[in-house]
Symmetry: C2
Subunit: 458 residues, 2 copies
């Protein structure tokens, strides 16, 4: 009986696996290896430790680029190289100083960060009364005389009603990005924005601001949500209070920076490319663990999983660490421009840049037929809670490949905690969970594997 | 035109809502109110701050019971009362001391907690060589002479392969619960268990142990996963090393404790009951934020949401803070025994005791027809990521109502992080996310509302 069983098992084991069984086995292997490994999580620890505040163009970003280049070089990629691009070099300078006073003598410090790309204040800072608005539109309807010479405080909390917190972020971000540009037209001398944070705490959350249409450039700041609450109460009691703001950021001439790319040459279609990546830069105030060190390391982990499992991709796989997503997306642009200029055939590109919490699915920016094909693969993901394959945006960096008609996708993750970390000093390795991140790594690897095996044509 | 529009709107607004629209509206209102409110999150902070380590029978549990009683009294419940039951009074005593030595002189301290219900070591502690097993079964196959006089170290990490971490916990928990009882039969003098933790860190994770079949009672301990790794390496290099263990726990005579219950009297069926609860007790080493202070506060939040939204339930709603889940479940037993003795008709009972991370669904312990009816309600939950309604266990405390044929359910939450907190000092309020917890509160309230409105009969 025992011998019969062995023979029977052998028959099963050595039968050529059907494609579906193979894919199912690969799913189990990828998730198994990812969930058992500590390698990626420790790599993220190293990146966050040695190169926090790695905004494009800064010395910290150069450290991060070297780190990733050397890390990739230590792995069995066929090629590792840096892809040059010019980036802004905007430096935060000294830490900001900010307080308010109701009587001119007593000062209440508030936690504030300068917004990315801001001009500096005068060296002695700015001390001025404040006027509060809940949107750019509300400000535009106000009497300009009430704004002139004042600090405009855009004070709208994120809408907590939405399940997907990105939706609330999308609604509020314009005040941070364009608030100063618009307020300067009304004679405002600085702008303070309530941090885009779903929690009430003392971390300011920075982010890009843009000077677009105004002739006058005024500085912009983000105040923490807890300090915003304190400020609101003080303003309600003393509408005439004054805020003091000081920052010393400097914009230098542009400098050369790099995407870092590792390639696994395709065994069947070496001239067809599948890209997977995240962005290596992070804000000055942050170790960039969720945004987006984690996405970079997940992308690298896709390759490591393939190496460990001995999977030889048919198409060339490119792991891309994009630079400069936070400021001008020069890395993403350079990557797409190069691909188009070189006539590269891109089969697919995937990005992880929504925080490395538990993955829930993929957001797919591609034709209906691609979406339908991917949906057929859901069965390989569902056992790991990855259930939502939906039409939507992919990622800012891979998004530039859209002009070349490349099917794109982004990893979608559970978003409740993300905006407590995003663009702040609270975005730490300690706030990344190893298993959550690794579920995302495996999901990405599995999707890349399926595209590599089956393509995206009908 | 404007007037016509107003009239048209008025017609729509004042049409009686169909049941489905009403339920849909209730879903939006419950999630909206929950996600916008900070009340429950602050209540959890208070509970964790004033009554950490609130194991049944301890002074800390008495503080927690008073806190919940007074909190409920401050809300518009129709009745708030304590339901008595007798509980064990096992006290941890002084913090444990543990180290190992390879030469008898140099000592390496290890982070260890005594297991719940353990006997104490002799006052001078235990110093003995160690023998390692990966399961009770493996130990039972060993030569008893190799075990006698030694400390048995059950060293099996949690299986990381499973998506649902509770599965790995289920596989390993028997070593913690029955390891000492079994090892004592082979002459072991103490047991150390690798903590049931999916992360590698220095927090020991305790939990119940039981003396069941052996005449000799030996103490049991949990060592942190990081210290277990250190210990493993030391044992590999020095198999003869000795471990020192000391604990001073005491078992007193049983004492009276209480469930705390708040009732909202049913407006149509006052003698029909729907119960919702969590367990108020926590381990001695923990502030019990996820396990299960969060589940208690979510249950209370169900009532608060009903109060705030002005919802008057048809059935009587009971919010139950069960005592003694961690040791002997005397609270859950007492609640069910009382319900049966009093001939109470329980329509439904729901528990939250899987950590208050993002909810993913409900585990339903009821007939097929109940399951089918609940599945029809999924549409009201899916917009909030709550998608899995599956047959399975409910909760330990409400589980005792099963003998009375009561349909039961448990809130299912995302499990990746839970066992990093569970039964350890790492289970803190800081590790609970407000939005994640509140999604669970709203999901529970919505399910209770739907049962209250539509019942669970076919």
């Amino acid at each position: 009986m025992k011998h019969l069983l062995l023979i029977f098992s052998a028959i099963i084991l050595f039968q050529p696996l059907r494609a579906q069984d193979k894919d199912s086995l690969m799913s189990t292997q990828l998730f198994g290896e990812a969930l058992n490994s500590n390698v990626a999580y420790q790599q993220l620890f190293q990146l966050c430790s040695i190169a926090p505040g790695r905004l494009a163009g800064t010395p910290e970003s150069a450290i991060a680029i070297d780190f990733m280049f050397n890390l990739m070089k230590s792995m069995p990629f066929d090629t590792v190289y840096k892809q040059p691009c010019m980036v802004r070099k905007w430096i935060r300078g000294n830490e900001e100083e900010a307080w308010f006073t109701t009587d001119g003598d007593n000062k209440t410090n508030i936690n504030i960060d300068v917004l990315g790309g801001s001009v500096p204040t005068p060296e002695k800072g700015i001390l001025a009364p404040v006027i509060v608005f809940s949107s750019i539109e509300e400000m535009q309807k106000a009497n300009p005389a009430t704004i002139k010479g004042k600090i405009v405080y855009f004070n709208r909390p994120m809408n907590q009603n939405y399940y997907i917190t990105f939706r609330a972020y999308g609604e509020n971000a314009s005040m941070r990005v364009y608030g100063a540009d618009e307020a300067s037209k009304f004679g405002a001398i600085a702008v303070v924005v309530r941090s885009l944070n779903t929690a009430t705490d003392t971390f300011p959350h920075t982010g890009i601001m843009r000077y677009k249409t105004s002739d006058v450039r005024i500085p912009g700041f983000a105040v923490s949500t807890a300090d915003a609450d304190v400020l609101d109460k003080a303003i309600a009691e003393n509408p005439g209070l004054k805020i003091y703001l000081k920052c010393s950021c400097i914009e230098y001439a542009q400098v050369q920076s790099y995407n870092v790319i590792g390639e696994i040459k395709g065994s069947v279609f070496p001239a067809r490319y599948i890209s997977v990546g995240g962005h290596l830069d992070s804000w000055f105030n942050s170790s960039g663990a969720h945004d987006d060190g984690g996405g970079c390391i997940q992308s690298l982990e896709v390759a490591r999983l393939f190496f460990v499992l001995g999977y030889k991709p048919q198409n060339t796989i490119r792991v891309v660490m994009f630079i400069d997503e936070e400021m001008e997306q020069r890395g993403g642009r350079a990557y797409a421009n190069n691909a188009i200029a070189n006539g590269e055939k891109h089969v697919f590109a995937l990005e992880s840049d929504r925080g490395v919490t538990t993955p829930t699915g993929f957001s797919i920016d591609a034709s209906e037929s691609v979406l339908q094909k991917m949906e057929l693969w859901k069965k390989y993901f569902e056992a790991y809670g990855i259930r939502v394959f939906e039409k939507g945006g992919s990622g800012v960096d891979v998004g530039f490949l859209k002009q070349a008609g490349v099917p794109l996708a982004g990893l979608v993750t559970e978003s409740q905690r993300y905006f407590e970390f995003h663009h702040s000093a609270n975005d730490t390795w300690q706030n990344v969970n190893r298993r959550e991140m690794q579920l995302g790594s495996a999901a990405m690897a599995l999707l890349i594997y399926l595209v590599d095996q089956h393509g995206l044509d009908k």
